[in-house]
């Protein structure tokens, strides 16, 4: 089930990606409307992170291309932001939360420019939005995992982009951070921004997202969650993984879930 949209802001055309000649993603082709929170859902090794990295051009695909706001990626880089997995950097780096958030203002100031007061103001607002302003001058190594995740979100916010790719922002965070991220996702989508979030936990996925992209090496389904979160499609995504199907059964009983 792949829902087609008019006025899409993200178009992914026939994307095929491989690592060391082993295909990871096959013929991914879909588009997304603006102002939604979309979850990329699938089992481990389904190629979820690879998908967003290829959309952003961090991995070059064997075939296919993406367009954002109808333009090739390189034309609109500054309108695209990215929240990498928390583990992708060394948090012992000598930097404060503020230093990291200011990085979000880099493109605004160019190659030899310097950050100005406006950048600092925007960085502070971004920290405020994730309830991290009191920690602005704290060394990043002294923050908890959830706080580090929020610093990463604030950096993306400081960029004032229109489309956000997030790689597992909910992985291993505390309840306060989870609430803060969710709040933020809702607020941002209401103001017309588009958030595309890699997420591995099927249980929470239905609560978190408006749209879902079900992925397991190939695209299983894309669409509003009510259309996509169905028995067969989830089964198709997770294959014969029985333990997951069992928990899924429980979720379905608990929720008034569209049959």
């Amino acid at each position: 089930m792949i829902k087609r949209v008019d006025n899409s802001i993200l178009e992914v055309h026939d994307l095929t990606v491989s690592y060391h000649n082993k295909p990871v993603l096959w013929n991914i082709d879909f588009d997304l409307p603006s102002g939604i929170v979309a979850g990329i859902i699938g089992p481990n090794g389904a190629g979820k992170s690879t998908l967003i990295k290829s959309i952003m051009g961090l991995i070059s695909p064997d075939q296919g291309y993406t367009k954002i706001f109808g333009q090739p990626l390189n034309e609109i880089r500054s309108r695209v932001s990215y929240v990498p997995q928390r583990e992708s950097v060394d948090w012992d780096f000598p930097a404060s939360a503020m230093d990291v958030v200011l990085m979000g203002r880099y493109s605004e100031r160019g190659f030899w420019g310097r950050y100005n007061d406006e950048d600092r103001k925007i960085a502070k607002q971004s920290l405020e939005q994730v309830d991290m302003l009191p920690f602005a001058n704290r060394q990043i190594s002294q923050l908890s995992g959830g706080q580090q995740q929020r610093v990463f979100l604030a950096r993306a916010l400081a960029q004032q982009a229109d489309i956000y790719f997030m790689d597992e922002p909910f992985a291993g965070v505390d309840a306060a951070t989870e609430a803060s991220i969710l709040n933020l996702l809702r607020e941002m989508s209401h103001s017309g921004k588009t958030m595309i979030v890699v997420h591995h936990d099927l249980q929470s996925a239905y609560d978190y997202f408006d749209w879902m992209i079900l992925l397991n090496r190939r695209l299983i389904a894309v669409g509003p969650k009510a259309d996509v979160f169905t028995d067969e499609l989830i089964q198709e995504t997770y294959g014969g993984n029985l333990s997951i199907l069992a928990t899924l059964g429980n979720i379905m009983q608990q929720k008034d879930y569209p049959k």
């Binding site: 961090l58 880089r77 990498p84 060394d90 780096f93 000598p94 990085m103 493109s107």
Partner: protein, 290 residues
């Protein structure tokens, strides 16, 4: 020449090399690339020899150009072996610089008759001879050629880092994010590597490859233990470099030994002190806090 001036020039030149290398070293160790500095400082050798052979002089632009391009070639080969060839990063570094250094040694040995450089001079340099080679005289003060060259080097490196601070900081901390927002990560990488190559080449004649490697790694590693604030780390690494040059020189005078060796030794002493007594990351602080 006044004996005091001798001391002054040697310590000044040592400090200029120390600061230039320490600043770059801070970025190298945070990029987990300390050994790339080591590799570059060795593999510029064939570039120096070939350029020397062509131009007949050790202090020409040809030599600087030849060696800097060899430095960039080294980083390029390391990247290729690692990213495209699937060789592990450390193995790629080891393969590349031992090979290029060996080529350089062979070139020197094969041409030893008509070249006035040898392995000894390349490895150890001769910082003690700096005051003997006068570049110019201003207001009656004889200024050694190396002091002028190394001042220019320090000016170039510190200007580069000052102007490119944000880009270097961003691409060092999170290259993937930098790529995603359209920052030319590769350009910054090669800019930094070119600076390391340049610093190595310019310094090698005065202090030798081994001291250059020590200057690239030890002051930065010491400063890393002392602070969590990157600008302070840059500053502290320079302070450690200057202190090592100063104390190392007088240690060498006292022992009547090699100046480069004594400076390296003092760097080791400062690092050990930081390792043991650094306020937050030192061994004792960690033991006491747990």
């Amino acid at each position: 020449m006044d004996f005091w001036f001798n001391d002054f020039w040697i310590i000044l030149c040592g400090s200029l090399v120390a600061m230039s290398c320490a600043i770059l070293g801070c970025f190298l160790i945070l990029r987990k690339m300390a050994m790339v500095g080591d590799a570059i400082s060795h593999s510029v050798l064939p570039g120096i020899v070939v350029a020397f052979f062509l131009s007949g002089s050790l202090s020409s632009w040809t030599v600087m150009l030849g060696a800097t391009s060899l430095g960039l070639l080294t980083t390029f080969i390391i990247e290729m072996l690692n990213k495209r060839g699937g060789v592990q990063a450390d193995a790629a570094i080891g393969l590349t610089f031992t090979f290029l250094f060996a080529v350089g040694v062979i070139l020197i040995a094969a041409n030893s008759g008509n070249l006035h450089i040898d392995q000894d001079c390349v490895l150890h340099g001769e910082i003690a001879y700096i005051p003997l080679d006068i570049g110019t005289t201003i207001a009656g003060i004889e200024i050694p050629r190396q002091a002028i060259i190394l001042s220019v080097l320090f000016f170039v490196i510190s200007t580069l880092v000052y102007l490119g601070y944000r880009g270097l900081f961003l691409t060092t901390f999170d290259p993937e994010y930098a790529d995603a927002i359209g920052v030319k990560t590769t350009t910054w990488h090669y800019l930094l590597m070119a600076a390391v190559s340049l610093a190595t080449v310019v310094s090698f004649e005065s202090v030798g490859a081994i001291l250059v490697v020590a200057f690239l790694i030890v002051p930065a590693a010491t400063a890393y233990l002392l602070t969590d604030h990157f600008p302070s780390m840059l500053l502290l690494s320079c302070v450690v470099g200057i202190l090592s040059s100063f104390t190392g020189y007088y240690l060498a005078v006292y022992l009547d030994g090699s100046i480069a060796g004594a400076i390296s030794t003092m760097m080791g002493v400062f690092f050990s002190l930081a390792f043991l007594f650094a306020p937050k990351h030192g061994y004792l602080a960690k033991r006491l806090s747990t």
